[in-house]
């Protein structure tokens, strides 16, 4: 959406609320988004919140897109400014010609006055003070009142809003009445005092009936449940905590024995991430599907145990919900800063399988698949999500499940298999694929072996012999090569149907996907030919290398400062790093399509400039030096 677009738009605009956290605005905002979704209109909500419980600024951005674009909007048409502390910033975010809605219980603050926008005042605070009792109640209901005002200004279906309030407060009659009254306060005031609806507003569509609204952490937890995971060990850390909490809720619903009321899962809140990783590995060693969820600082702490699991070949799934680093960084902001550390996490020669879901739907499917890969390859598998995917509600397709699915437990020898064998050698590559068969404790007296992080032979005995040591670590390399053929391949969005490559290749991963897809459409419609590849897993499939090699120039779009995916591509494909430019966005907010389009156009301009004859560049440089 550029600044030139007319403001009279149906189902194609964005608005945001600037509030104070801990005041109940989050539930009001999700109510708004869900109401729009139920009107059949594609919608996205991004919660931009502080690392704090109460009293700091928070924003909620809602984008409505009839075309189904879900990336964060670069501009907003309407700002609801309810936090005096952020007035200046909020008023600046309004697109020229847009609207600002403020609480006119107090005089208009100088900071809110700006040329070229329309200012609407509604005395939310005053109305709530007059209509309700109690400070906390008034604060909470003020948020519901602005939902009512927006319903009038944007034509949100009031029947749907009413239906949602009834669902929400089904068991709290008093709250239901108060909320209804608060909604009407805002709605009636807007109707009486302003010309409703605004030039940009909503109209019912039928584009969401096959969709759901869900956050990636819940989706990933559901994936773990469906994959048959039984042991979860974790340590609370934003933004991953809600994953384990969701797992607990699903298990309480689906994994309680109906007769005994006993649990068919074990969930352990560990003393730290080191212990959480150890518990995952201990459980994986015993044969359970086990996992943890964490974020960057937790990944750092788990690094030692990850090396152990890699070398001793024990499965486990590690969900990394990335947040901004380094160190504590900005815990409630998003980033893709853990790519390089995860790829080679731990000391010595280590490499890991990593999956990169782009949205909650993939958190579910790739989350489940991660358990198969972990057991097939007997190694830690990382599911690399981020705060934006993990904690925001995304519109995605309904999940389905194939009931014929059975877990891939990999090469696990049972008592009968062991009876038939002359000798069990834990780290022997019998099939030439780099994967040795394992046994589980307690199954057979013939299956015992000693698991050690120290040097071991293919028979799992201790060694300090160079040849014996190398034999095992070289096989681990072969196992990784096999994995490259089994992990999900990249998703290709090629422009030409005839097999010819576009002159520009875009490469991205994870949560950047929605913004890149939108940018691709915009670039193509403005005459720039681009192919787009979304990487879905590490190690890279051969087709990833082929894509880079077949494009004269690639842009790698990612959310970190140092271009970690680009570095990883250069290391692992052996292709020149200079054949790829970076388009980076690492300020902690979800990526916008504008940033990608600008990145490509600026990059192309710079490349065109550098292609000019050397003499002309030389003379330009001379001129610059003279002035």
């Amino acid at each position: 959406m550029s600044d030139q677009q007319p403001l009279s738009r149906i189902n194609d605009f964005a608005f945001k609320m600037g509030t104070v956290n801990g005041t109940g605005s989050a539930s009001a905002n999700s109510l708004l988004m869900q109401a729009i979704f139920r009107m059949g209109i594609p919608v996205t909500g991004k919660n931009v919140f502080p690392s704090n419980i109460q009293g700091l600024p928070t924003w909620y951005e809602v984008r409505v897109s009839k075309d189904g674009y879900t990336a964060r909007p670069a501009h907003v048409d309407l700002v609801v400014a309810l936090n005096p502390e952020t007035y200046a910033k909020d008023v600046a975010a309004v697109r020229p010609g847009g609207y600002l809605l403020y609480d006119s219980s107090w005089p208009l603050d100088d900071k809110l006055i700006r040329e070229g926008i329309t200012i609407l005042g509604i005395p939310f605070g005053k109305m709530c003070v007059e209509s309700f009792e109690g400070d906390r109640n008034r604060t909470l209901l003020r948020n519901i009142a602005y939902v009512g005002a927006l319903a009038a200004l944007l034509e949100i279906d009031m029947d749907i809003v009413g239906e949602m309030l009834k669902e929400k407060f089904a068991k709290k009659r008093a709250l239901l009445d108060a909320n209804f009254r608060a909604i009407r306060l805002g709605y009636d005031y807007a109707k009486a005092n302003y010309s409703c609806p605004l030039p940009f507003h909503l109209e019912r569509m039928d584009a969401t009936k096959d969709s759901i609204l869900l956050d990636g952490n819940s989706a990933a937890a559901l994936g773990a449940v469906y994959a048959g995971a039984t042991v979860g060990a974790w340590y609370p850390i934003t933004p991953s905590t809600s994953l384990m909490e969701a797992f607990k809720e699903y298990c309480e619903r689906f994994r309680i024995d109906p007769e005994t009321k006993q649990r068919k899962y074990a969930l352990i809140q560990a003393e730290d991430e080191l212990a959480a990783a150890g518990m995952v590995i201990g459980a994986g060693w015993c044969g359970a599907r086990s996992f943890t969820s964490t974020a960057g600082p937790g990944i750092s702490l788990m690094s030692e145990f990850i090396g152990l699991a890699y070398y001793t070949e024990i499965p486990g799934v590690f969900f990394d919900i990335q947040r901004t680093g380094p160190s504590t960084g900005m815990p409630t902001r998003t980033q893709q800063g853990d790519l390089l550390s995860i790829a080679y996490l731990s000391h010595g020669d280590t490499k890991h399988i990593a999956l990169f879901p782009a949205n909650p739907e993939e958190c579910f499917y790739l989350g489940a698949q991660a358990f198969d890969l972990a057991e097939r390859f007997q190694t830690p598998v990382f599911v690399v999500s981020d705060l934006d995917i993990g904690m925001n509600d995304w519109m995605c397709r309904r999940f389905t499940w194939d009931d014929s699915y059975r877990p891939d437990r990999g090469k696990v020898l049972g008592a009968d298999d062991l009876e038939r064998m002359q000798r069990f050698s834990r780290y022997l590559d019998a099939d030439g694929d780099g994967i040795a068969a394992r046994t589980l404790p307690g199954v057979s007296p013939r299956g015992g072996y000693f698991t050690r992080g120290s040097g071991h032979t293919k028979h799992a005995t201790y060694t300090e012999d160079s040849t014996e040591y190398q034999e095992v670590v070289d096989r681990l390399s072969r196992k990784f090569e096999t994995a490259a053929k089994s992990v999900p391949g990249p998703e290709m969005h090629l422009q030409g149907g005839n097999g010819a490559s576009a002159p520009i290749g875009l490469i991205s991963l994870g949560g950047c996907h929605s913004a890149v897809l939108e940018a691709v459409d915009r670039l193509r419609s403005s005459g720039t030919s681009v192919d787009y590849m979304r990487v879905r897993a590490f190690p890279f499939a051969e087709s990833v290398r082929a894509f880079v090699a077949s494009h004269p120039h690639c842009y790698v779009v990612e959310q970190n400062r140092d271009g970690q995916l680009r570095t990883l591509l250069a290391i692992e494909t052996g292709l020149a790093r200079d054949s790829m430019s970076s388009i980076l966005d690492y300020g902690g907010l979800p990526l916008t399509a504008d940033r990608v389009v600008e990145g490509v156009l600026d990059g192309e301009q710079a490349r065109a400039a550098s292609r000019r004859p050397a003499a002309s560049v030389a003379s330009e440089t001379r001129n610059l030096l003279l002035t």
């Binding site: 979704f37 139920r38 759901i212 609204l213 869900l214 559901l222 469906y226 048959g228 039984t230 042991v231 005994t260 009321k261 006993q262 649990r263 068919k264 074990a266 352990i268 560990a270 003393e271 080191l274 212990a275 959480a276 990783a277 150890g278 518990m279 995952v280 590995i281 201990g282 459980a283 994986g284 060693w285 015993c286 044969g287 359970a288 086990s290 030692e304 145990f305 152990l308 309904r398 999940f399 389905t400 194939d402 009931d403 877990p407 046994t439 589980l440 404790p441 307690g442 057979s444 007296p445 013939r446 299956g447 015992g448 072996y449 000693f450 698991t451 050690r452 992080g453 120290s454 201790y462």
Partner: protein, 351 residues
């Protein structure tokens, strides 16, 4: 090296246990520890205890961290799965393993460096969770594998081999475990197999976390005259306050029942631990008294040994969590996956 490679042929007159297995079937690889190491005596006592308990070897899982003590999991139960993990983090591995398969007998072997320095947090939290395992702490007051640094259990004034005195107060694993609510706390000496074996048997049968702190002298770095973890010092200051006898479930209890100095505790599986009271007022079921007694004797320079505290009524980690009795690893996938119908219903809730 105190073990020798033995011929594969079994002597026909070797005694067998109820499973028809000899002690040899509970042994492991040859020890690579120094000759005279206390840890090898602990290993021998463990072999004896496991054999006497008639435990099928493959139903045990051996867990350890890093250090001389942790190496010993290779020296017994060669048919069992063993896991020599990372330094100080065996409790996490054991906790996860136990979460997955609650039916195995977990034997954790650790040392004073592994448990009281780098792994202190994990030890505390395993106690707190009451993970069902025997936790053997082979305590020699010194870092052996890195050649003689003090550990956190070194006593103030105890000198290193080079004559340097330790100036920091020790962490006593027994007092620590008592204060954290451990449900089984014992201390023994590697040089007293007669006391150690029944303690280990009771620890292996305890339903919960059983800490057995064993003074196990390091002959290479901490067995000199000015050490308080030497063979001589331990023998000179040894005080066996609560000698125990472990009576397995199926063995008929033949000991005289009119022994007024005996206290019996019935274990979770029905077997019995019987104490003879040496100190007339000592009751191993009284946590505060146990703590006070150990402190009091410590002040007199005595090393109090025996099964110091036991609470067989507490629930272990699974009991607290309400986990199903079947080990989680044995649950069929069909019981774990809610299926496509449940998913379709769930999707309706996200609209």
């Amino acid at each position: 090296m105190t073990s020798i490679t033995k011929p594969p042929v079994r002597h026909p007159s070797l005694p067998t246990n109820a499973l028809g297995l000899t002690r040899r079937e509970y042994e492991g690889a040859m020890s690579t520890l120094c000759a005279g190491c206390g840890h090898d005596s602990v290993t021998a006592a463990l072999v004896q205890a496991l054999w006497e308990l008639d435990l099928p070897p493959h139903r045990a899982a051996k867990m350890s961290g890093i250090g001389c003590s942790s190496k010993t999991t290779a020296y017994f139960l060669k048919q069992s799965h063993g896991f020599n993990g990372v330094h100080g983090r065996m409790p996490a591995l054991a906790t996860g393993a136990n979460a997955a398969n609650r039916d195995l007998v977990y034997v954790g072997i650790s040392g004073d460096g592994d448990s009281l320095s780098i792994g202190l947090g994990q030890l505390c939290h395993a106690i707190r969770r009451n993970v069902n395992m025997a936790y053997v702490l082979e305590n020699n007051g010194v870092y052996g594998l890195t050649k003689g640094q003090f550990s956190a259990s070194s006593d103030v004034g105890s000198k290193s081999k080079r004559g340097e005195p330790n100036l920091q107060p020790p962490i006593d694993p027994v007092l620590l475990a008592l204060s954290l609510g451990a449900t089984f706390v014992a201390r023994s000496f590697s040089g007293d197999k007669a006391q150690l074996t029944p303690i280990l048997k009771a620890a292996l049968r305890h339903n919960g976390f059983a800490l057995v702190d064993i003074i196990s002298p390091c002959v290479s770095f901490n067995d000199h005259d000015s050490s308080t973890k030497s063979y001589r010092y331990t023998r000179d200051h040894y005080n066996d306050i609560a000698p125990v006898d472990f009576v397995p479930l199926r063995r008929e209890i033949t000991a005289e029942t009119n022994d007024t100095s005996a206290v019996s505790v019935t274990m979770h599986d029905g077997s019995v631990v019987r104490f003879r009271r040496v100190a007339s007022d000592y009751d191993p079921r009284n946590r505060d008294a146990a703590y006070a007694h150990v402190r009091e004797r410590q002040a007199r320079g005595e090393v109090v040994t025996g099964l110091l505290y036991i609470d067989e009524s507490a629930a272990d980690m699974h009991g607290v969590a309400g986990t199903i009795a079947t080990p989680l690893v044995e649950l069929p996938y069909e019981e774990l996956c809610p299926g496509s119908g449940a998913l379709a219903e769930l999707m309706e809730e996200y609209r």
